[in-house]
């Protein structure tokens, strides 16, 4: 046993000698050039993306000897590129509390690994740190989508749809003179347009900030072109207003016929939808649909003029609103007859009373009637029982202020199913209105036997559309009237199908006109005003 112990001890001793020798060699090997020293490493680093560039942020550990950092990356394949970032004030971002460098890449885009290694004053290098950076380029930008832009129907503003990441839009639009406005960057959701050309183009480009840390915003490559809505009705209607209902010249005829084309192409169902739509939607339709432009604008014009017109003593202003709806203003009173319109109830504050010939929707506007009644203003009719004082199914006389009113009761367009359905109103406006008198026939059958209570000479007769039987009440016999002026109306009432399926078309009314037994027969259009003065209508 002791012999074995001796051998083992001897073996261990030999191994010890060998090991010590190897340890010496190893140590000498490491120590031959001096001790291995690393520079202070980069404690933290990150990258902020940009368009063909990246901002690298460096947060080195504390090292009194630090000099600079070397950033390296692969360009293509194994080809490397690098950049030195000196640890000096120039490259120090005090707010961030670290050093930074913006590295530009002419051709690189997409993900990129960037390595960073610190170097100290003695040339010692730190351990390598790396980050993944993303470079935006044309490939990325080409996938971006512009935010849709909506041009208001009044062509007075553009509204941008909001998109996640979008910080605004660049916009330029076509003006009436054909030129484009300079491109501007807009952060707001809405942008006002001035003199934008209907039918022209709005060009927009959305600007994105994909991440809040990005150093560049990105603009969508191509402009989005949005057409500015057109409305042919605007030019036509405005041109018509420059003509006179008292002069049926070629220009006026052409414009009236164009308006008829607009009306014929607008289905009555669409008119129904317009009437029921929310206010904003209805206004939109007025600016985008030609015939509705005329319809809406006529109301705006009438509203403004009824308020602003000062009627001289001895004269009267008469407006046609729509269909057989009229507003008449004397120096002392303003009243309406058969006023019907989408916005009719807005007229209530300016009317002293209204007459309604019969209970059909294109003559009787319930909201207006109720608004008038609520304010205690007379609503004369043969069906609106809420105003008991001015309700009568029989011929009756009324006096309201200076105004004297006589009525008679007729059938509706000679329909045996509707006898005694229509009240015709003869209105004498009094001395301050030059004793102006008018007769409104509504949709009566124009039988003289039913006009006996309103017969006699008068200044103005509001006929329907001048059909031959309407002449039956014109004359000096019993139940006839002798007007100085006759107005033809009920033009293109949009709830009816186009002529010959219901509507009184403009063309047909023009054909009737020469046959009307009144030397001064006129066809005013929606919104037009006529003034009675010194025994004449002008």
């Amino acid at each position: 046993m002791s012999k074995i112990n001796y051998i083992l001890l001897w073996a261990f001793f030999q191994l010890f000698l060998i090991g010590c020798e190897n340890a010496d060699d190893l140590l000498n090997q490491h120590l031959k050039d001096g001790p291995l020293v690393y520079a202070g490493k980069i404690k933290e680093m990150d990258a902020q993306s940009g368009y063909y560039r990246v901002r690298v942020n460096l947060f080195p550990t504390t090292d009194a000897n630090r000099s600079h950092c070397v950033l390296t990356w692969n360009t293509q394949g194994d080809t490397k590129d690098s950049m030195r970032v000196d640890y000096n004030e120039t490259n120090f971002d005090a707010m961030m509390g670290g050093y930074f460098k913006i590295v530009e890449f002419a051709d690189l885009q997409g993900p990129l690994e960037i390595k960073a290694q610190n170097v100290d004053k003695f040339g010692n290098k730190s351990l390598v740190e790396s980050i993944s950076a993303n470079i935006y380029g044309t490939d990325y930008v080409s996938a971006l989508v512009n935010s849709p832009a909506k041009v208001s129907s009044k062509v007075d503003k553009v509204t941008f749809e909001e998109r996640v990441g979008a910080v605004g839009n660049i916009i330029s639009y076509e003006k009436i003179d054909g030129s484009f406005t300079p491109e501007v960057f807009v952060k707001d959701k809405n942008y006002l347009l001035v003199d934008a050309k209907r039918g022209g183009v709005v060009r927009t480009k959305t600007r994105f900030l994909i991440n809040e840390t990005d150093i560049d915003t990105l603009d969508v490559t191509a402009f989005l072109e949005t057409r500015i809505p057109t409305n042919d009705g605007i030019d036509v209607y405005e041109a018509l207003l420059q003509t006179s209902p008292f002069s049926l010249d070629n220009e006026r005829l052409a414009l009236l016929r164009q308006i008829e084309v607009f009306s014929d192409s607008f289905p009555k169902a669409s008119f129904g939808q317009y009437l029921k739509a929310a206010d904003e939607a209805s206004v939109d339709m007025e600016y985008t649909t030609p015939i509705l432009y005329a319809y809406g604008r006529a109301f705006d014009k009438l509203m403004d003029e009824v308020q602003d017109t000062e009627v001289a003593y001895g004269s009267v202003a008469v407006w046609l609103l729509y269909n057989m709806g009229y507003v008449v203003k004397t120096p002392s009173v303003t009243f309406g007859i058969d006023v019907d319109h989408r916005w009719a109830e807005k007229l209530e504050p300016y009317l002293d009373f209204i007459c309604v010939t019969h209970n059909h929707v294109d003559h009787a506007h319930v909201k207006l009637m109720d608004a008038m009644n609520k304010k205690g203003k007379p609503v004369l009719s043969n069906f609106y029982t809420k105003d008991a004082k001015y309700y009568s199914k029989d011929a009756k006389n009324f006096t309201i202020g200076n105004i004297k009113i006589r009525t008679d009761i007729t059938d509706h367009l000679r329909d045996p199913a509707l006898p005694k359905f229509v009240t015709v109103f003869r209105i004498e406006c009094g001395a301050d209105a030059g004793n102006f008198s008018m007769l409104h026939c509504g949709d009566s059958g124009f039988r003289p036997t039913e006009f006996t209570k309103v017969e006699g000479p008068l200044d103005l007769a509001v006929l329907r559309w001048g059909a031959p039987r309407e002449n039956d009440i014109l004359g000096t016999g019993s139940g006839q009237v002798e007007p100085k002026y006759a107005i033809l109306s009920h033009l293109i009432e949009l709830r009816h199908d186009p002529y010959p399926n219901g509507q009184a078309s403009i063309s047909q009314t023009l054909k009737h006109l020469p046959g009307v037994k009144c030397d001064n027969t006129i066809i005013p259009f929606w919104g037009e005003k006529m003034v009675w003065k010194n025994g004449q209508m002008q």
Binding site: S132, S142, A143, N146, E161, R163, V164, I210, N211
Partner: protein, 340 residues
């Protein structure tokens, strides 16, 4: 007598069918276009059978797309209707693009979907239209003529705000018809806008989204809303998961995990397998559809596009029993637990 009556009826039917052919197809005979024959042959093959013939035809189509990708395609999209149609008659890849739309539109309009089944059309890129007995919807539908589909879709889902997935005209047309357009980027469009995982119910359809990055880009960490849509009883509870351009990170699929009938992957590259399985954030499915093929706004592979050739290389490695590569315009039917 009966034979004569039958002949007349058949003749009348043929006339009627021919009259109903849209004018694009009728006018094609005035043009010479090698793509016509290729597409005709492709339409006779099935996306469920990857025969040599089908592979060869698909690779041919791949070559058609290369010269038209990126700028020429973007120029084509800006052209007037007449100019664009002229190009569609003449250029093979644009012919394929146009006829795919015509086919999908026609079939979506006229296909009567039997109870317990669902029809799935691949339109272009990652755009799909799904029709069940009670409804019809689109996911990432993009095409030059996409807005024509609006009257036939009950809702539209868009995974993210990139031009090859979000078609502005279709979105506008759907909104004009007051139909839901569900996104994670259209801020004004509440209640169909959300940037977090959300559930929606539209008719018989139940939607569940989860938010993912875009192709694992850290800059686009919450850019894509993947969606799982369950189509309801009348479609035999058919379910589909559409991954958009997601990064396929299971951590971002937890709200849509679990068994699903069909998964729409991207082009089947390796990382897309990470969401296939029984683990957390993974889905179990017997059918995977590969897509995003030759999207022509991108430069040809390897500079952006998912080429058909490369997708075919990925296909065998997709860890799903039935991995299918449908092409533009092709229809698949879900019936009795199988895609046909």
């Amino acid at each position: 007598m009966f034979k004569y009556a039958l002949s007349i009826l058949l003749l009348a039917f043929c006339q009627l069918s021919s009259a109903q052919k849209r004018s694009f197809e009728k006018n094609q005979k005035n043009y010479v276009n090698v793509g016509v024959e290729t597409i005709k042959k492709l339409n006779k093959t099935s996306p469920l059978v990857l025969s040599e013939e089908r592979v060869s035809l698909l690779k041919t189509i791949d070559t058609y797309s290369d010269p038209y990708s990126d700028l020429p395609f973007k120029e084509y999209l800006k052209k007037s209707e007449d100019e664009a149609e002229e190009l569609e008659h003449k250029e093979p890849i644009l012919y394929a693009y146009r006829t795919a739309f015509e086919k999908v539109l026609k079939e979506v309009k006229h296909t009567k979907v039997k109870k317990g089944t669902a029809s799935v059309w691949m339109l272009y890129n990652m755009g799909f239209v799904i029709k069940t007995p009670s409804g019809c919807f689109g996911i990432d539908v993009d095409h030059r003529l996409a807005e024509q589909l609006a009257p036939y879709l009950d809702f539209l889902y868009i995974t993210h705000n990139h031009g090859d997935h979000a078609n502005l005209k279709l979105m506008a047309a759907m909104k004009h018809l007051n139909k839901p357009v569900i996104t994670n980027f259209d801020i004004d469009n509440a209640p169909y806008f959300s940037t977090v995982a959300t559930g929606y119910k539209i008719g018989n359809f139940t939607l569940q989204t989860d938010i993912s990055d875009h192709l694992r880009s850290p800059e686009l960490s919450n850019f894509v809303a993947v969606v799982r849509i369950d189509c309801g009883d009348d479609a035999d509870n058919f379910s589909i998961l559409h991954c958009g351009d997601s990064g396929f990170d299971p951590q971002r699929f937890k709200k849509v995990q679990g068994p699903v009938d069909v998964v729409v992957l991207r082009w089947g590259e390796a990382r897309e397998n990470e969401i296939l399985g029984a683990g957390d954030g993974q889905v179990q499915t017997n059918y995977a559809l590969l897509s995003h093929l030759i999207e022509m706004r991108h430069k040809p592979y390897p500079k952006g596009q998912a080429s058909i050739t490369q997708t075919l290389k990925h296909l065998p490695h997709v860890t799903c029993k039935n991995t299918i590569l449908p092409f533009w315009g092709e229809m698949l039917t879900w019936e009795n637990g199988e895609l046909k």
